[in-house]
Symmetry: C2
Subunit: 347 residues, 2 copies
Amino acid sequence: MSTSDLLEGIEARRIPALARAISLIENQRDGYEELLSAIHPRVGRAHRIGLTGPPGGGKSTLAERVIHVYRAREHSVAVVAVDPTSPFSGGALLGDRIRMESLTLDPDVFIRSMASRGELGGVAMTTREVCDLLDAYGFDRIIIETVGVGQSELTIAAAADTSVLVLTPESGDGVQVLKAGVMEIADIFTINKADRPGADRLRLEIEVMLGIRRGKAHGNIAPHHGLPGGKARESATEGVAGAGWEPPALAVSATRNEGVEELVDAIERHARHLHTSGELDRRRHERLARHTREVVDRSLRHFVWQERNGEAALAAGLEEMVGGTMTPYQVARDIVAGLRQETSNGR
Amino acid sequence: MSTSDLLEGIEARRIPALARAISLIENQRDGYEELLSAIHPRVGRAHRIGLTGPPGGGKSTLAERVIHVYRAREHSVAVVAVDPTSPFSGGALLGDRIRMESLTLDPDVFIRSMASRGELGGVAMTTREVCDLLDAYGFDRIIIETVGVGQSELTIAAAADTSVLVLTPESGDGVQVLKAGVMEIADIFTINKADRPGADRLRLEIEVMLGIRRGKAHGNIAPHHGLPGGKARESATEGVAGAGWEPPALAVSATRNEGVEELVDAIERHARHLHTSGELDRRRHERLARHTREVVDRSLRHFVWQERNGEAALAAGLEEMVGGTMTPYQVARDIVAGLRQETSNGR
């Protein structure tokens, strides 16, 4: 199928064309950048929601519930689930997907798993490009589900407009998880399995951390007032004039389907906040700049390793490096210098 | 301090010179590649040990215990602790470091924390280069401690010759953690806090997973015999002729200082296995090739973004992208084409 056929299929909102276009992008086959360039003017309508958290936090079940709420509100939804590389993870994650099967009969729901094989940065970049495609295709909401709270998951999550952190009372030490750098990027905190022991403690930990974060933002550590009562579903106030967004901490139970409407309300409130505050434009311009930077870097890598056969030079250099007569820095300098030489000889 | 002064200081085994050289590499200041190139011939004597696992698994305490065992065996030890980016993590991780303070009075122990700010791949690369420096300096063993089990932590852990995965009964669902892609890279499994409830279950889970992994390696799923009795400290047999390495699952208690000698024994056994099987050479050649590849990519990025002022071209293009008259792919193509043009005009 040619790029123009794919484009036509996407404009006509044909799912098989969408699926093929995603594969084209995932595998970086000929014409993928052309396709992405062609759809670019139509990108920017969808709101992108990141679901991030430690493994076993029930993110897939929660995603399913969120989809149902959005469908009831007549929004179309796409899910991009980024799985870690592991031959062992296939089974269970497939199981998670299968639970969503009833949803896949709905043409306004699209679910795609992406393996995070290959380069770290590459996965984040491809995720962003697949989201662009789903956006241009016309989905109203795009959910990016990632497993884990490491740096790479955070990078993937940076593709979202609204980041939802999903924690559970069992996800080990809440504070430890919160320390892992994920705190700063979360717009909404969700305590899933909130009926289990430890939920109150986790919520208290989140509140304390949010208090510290607020204190830092204001230049001093303010004592945190208004810790939640046991019943309150939403604790932190938000939208205080001029104070920006204050991330709420929401109790949900995905399996019991409790608190999901409130989560979707919070996401939509955050979407409006981003829009009215100008923060959405700022985030998206920043994302666009980062993406363009990465497209340049990818082009350069493609140039040196594919077009210019840098691998052969590397293989030749490897023997000398093992023999101790060359170092990685000398071999690299030769490869880059050779490239400059070659480009100056009339390419 | 000039690069040659730093080199002299490193050869004379002066700690201040080492600390400065690490800062030079971390911040990629002028002369850092020259320094790394100069020390390259002396790299390769140290054995590198990765300590990886979910947050809160007691890795810092375990690292401290392992250092004491190595010091008793008259090996010098360096620790590179790669912390996630978070203003919140500063305190607690500093606390972890402070517990090691008695060790820092010993000139044959060196502990360095590295913030994982900046690019993902960059951290893994810098960690590798700092390990090269510590190796050239003369440390016998280098411990690379990472927090988390995400893809980036795995990439950082790939700098190690021997990877030790540290799990705890409380680290949530053991199987979930094992699924996160970390299973394949672990040479030794450690169950820390083995005196707590759930340790037996976790061990059983590891054993079952190892059985599956073995089965897969042999081309079929073999039933797994020899599940451990409650008392056995080490359960999987290893070193079976021709069968390669079978990762042991060791019970330890870092706080009680139990099982640490056995862990160090297992690390040393794995080091000998790598050496005699030729696997050490294979892994190190692969690491060298990957590193050289990344040095080339870093040079190219430096060329386009620092030397050639690609940022200005990007900033100019950003306005057009926001206005909808250009796409990231067109802007990137122009930047790369401009680069080729410029290099051909006699640089």
